[in-house]
Amino acid sequence: MKKLFGTKNMKKTTKDSFITYAMVILVFLIVQIMVGTGSMSSLLQGLLVPLCIYSIAAIGLNLCVGYLGELSLGHAGFMCVGAFSSAFFTKYMMDTGMNEILRFIIALIIGTLTAAFFGFLIGIPVLRLRGDYLAIVTLAFGEIIKNVMNVLYIVKDKDGLHFSMSDAASLNMAEEGTFLINGPKGIIGTPHQSTFTIGVILILVSLFVVYNLVNSRSGRAIMAIRDNRIAAESVGIPITKFKLMAFTLSAAIAGMGGVLYAHNLSTLTALPANFGYNMSIMLLVFVVLGGMGSFRGSIIAAVLLTMLPEVLRGLSDYRMLIYAVVLIAMMLFNWAPKAIEWRQRHSLKDMFTKKTKGVQ
């Protein structure tokens, strides 16, 4: 038995994922105790669900940036799709007397699947492109989604659903009808069903999925494509299939974050502030700061960067500026050839082991 559970015999990747699960569960327990004993301010309690949302979305984006090696600037768009489709379902089912938990689970599945579907749909054409083009097209996609959501009107009355893309007046709705989606006003009156517990469960689920993917045969294929596309192709890896797989999954996870977002607020709107390009950039900052390819890092970065400005109120004006500086500094330090050389010469490991310098 000891051998079976001993950490020594565990694969490095398995150990890595277990540390992350343990970290999330530990934080969850600490927070629960703090909430139970009343030692957490209401301000921080209000931040708990957003922390989960950002962590989940950052995990999704990290799969795309860190493992697929493609920069997506449209993950806010996928969150938007997930949020709106799930909130739409919840709103639609609200007066049918459906069990609330069941309704939330179905809404979650619908939101995730819709985001995955859009990821797949966008992925087919977009993944033929590379690098900068892919980034700009995903950005364009996110903007299109936001734009379309702002002109979408759906009304429910006794005749069924009415649908319009110009204005509310052209819907011909009966007097007792209710708005499901009211154009720029969005979806109003979604019940608050996202809790910290659900958020943590969803973080664990998405971690489980991504860890299992990246440590599998498919995951290794995805990384091979990232490192050298032509070499991967020449050993017979179907590029499109694996790229689509990673991209779709990445979109689905972002959509899951969106579902959580939709059920955390009573009013869901597709404003630039929530689902615009800045949201995608913020997720990117989390991923880059936490380390591309490290899911644990993404969670830590998302939590720290969201909490810090709230805790240190005076900093909140400078928050975005600091994000930007940190992003540039991290990229220069991690990727500039000169910085890499410098780090190799001044490595901490070498200092402790007193290795001869210059020997690699």
């Binding site: 940036v65 090696g69 493609e70 920069l71 600037l73 054409p125 977009v126 033929r128 492109l129 690098g131 900068d132 083009y133 980034a135 700009i136 097209v137 950005l139 364009a140 996609f141 903007e143 299109i144 734009n147 379309v148 702002n150 002109v151 893309m165 110009s166 032509i230 070499a231 390009y277 950039i281 990117l284 880059v288 004006d317 400078y318 975005m320 500026l321 994000y323 930007a324 500086v325 992003l327 540039i328 990229m331 220069l332 991690n334 990727w335 500039a336 050839p337 000169k338 910085a339």
Partner: protein
């Protein structure tokens, strides 16, 4: 008549896109990177003109000149500080850094100038042109924009074809290493490209703000992305391509806004981008890039 009026509006807007697209296309051709911060350089240029003209009561032409100088210096500084160290790094790293710079400029402007919308008074105060017994009115801004765009295009083409520095730019975009072996100062040429692109961005910013007189720290990002779309549309790396792409995109946007839906005009522009990239990724005048192992 309204169709012709829309068309003229479209050409005027397209001329602004074309000037911005020049900055993207030249930098992309030479440094092989998407300078995400280009749109925000435009915004800084607008704020400089606004501050010098409304705050310090400078002559409009003088404040445009100051704005061009500020943007040129800003462009060179950005290149030296953020992009040059990453010249041999992966494209993903360069792109993320460029996004960081864009974010930095936006938030710096937000802190310095505040988030409130400022109303920009147009620097062009000529009377509007009336044609066909007053049925067709062309604003002076539109005329000045199109004329400026044509002058810049011709000037830039002559510069690239006729001068030594311009031909060095062509050589560097063709093959950086070979150009260096021929004694071309590659770093200097790249800096020059950023300088020209950013200087033009300042002019584009003034024209844009004269046509749409609101000023916020975020005005640069959307026209920036659209101008990149225009550059891709016309074929990235090609100067005439940027012109054609810009004009076409401007016309598509204005006609789309007028005849399809005013709220969906951005979505239409981006749909064009997606379609172009799928059908002809090299754009109208672009050359196909062959990939080597």
């Amino acid at each position: 008549m309204s169709f012709i009026a829309y068309l003229i509006n479209g050409i005027s807007l397209g001329s602004v896109y074309a000037i911005i697209a020049l900055g993207y296309t030249m930098v992309y051709g030479i440094a092989k990177m998407l300078n995400f911060a280009h749109g925000d350089v435009i915004m800084i240029g607008c704020y400089v003109v606004f501050t010098t003209m409304s705050g310090l009561q400078f002559n409009p032409l003088l404040s445009v000149l100051i704005s061009v100088v500020v943007c040129t210096v800003l462009g060179i500084t950005i290149e030296k500080v953020a992009y040059k160290p990453l010249r041999k790094a992966s494209p993903l790293a360069v792109l993320i850094t460029a996004i960081g710079v864009s974010y930095l400029l936006q938030n710096a402007a937000l802190l310095v100038f505040g988030a409130d919308t400022k109303s920009f008074s147009s620097i062009i105060t000529l009377p509007a042109l009336k044609l066909a017994d007053g049925k067709l009115v062309i604003s002076s801004v539109a005329v000045v924009t199109v004329v400026t765009c044509l002058i810049i295009m011709t000037g830039l083409m002559l510069f690239i074809k006729k001068t030594k520095a311009g031909r060095a730019m062509l050589a560097v975009s063709e093959d950086k290493d070979a150009a260096q072996l021929m004694g071309i100062n590659v770093n200097g040429t790249i800096s020059l490209t950023f300088a020209i692109g950013s200087g033009l961005a300042a002019i584009a910013g003034v024209l844009l703000c004269s046509a749409y007189p609101t000023l916020t720290p975020y005005i640069g990002s959307m026209p920036g992305i659209k101008a990149f779309t225009a550059a891709v549309f016309g074929g990235i790396g090609s100067v005439p391509g940027a012109f054609i792409g810009g004009i076409l995109l401007g016309i598509i946007e204005v006609l789309g806004r007028a005849y399809i839906s005013s709220q969906l005009s951005d979505a239409i522009v981006f749909a064009v981008l997606i379609i172009v990239l799928l059908v002809k990724p090299t754009g109208i005048l672009g050359k196909p890039i062959h990939e080597k192992v």
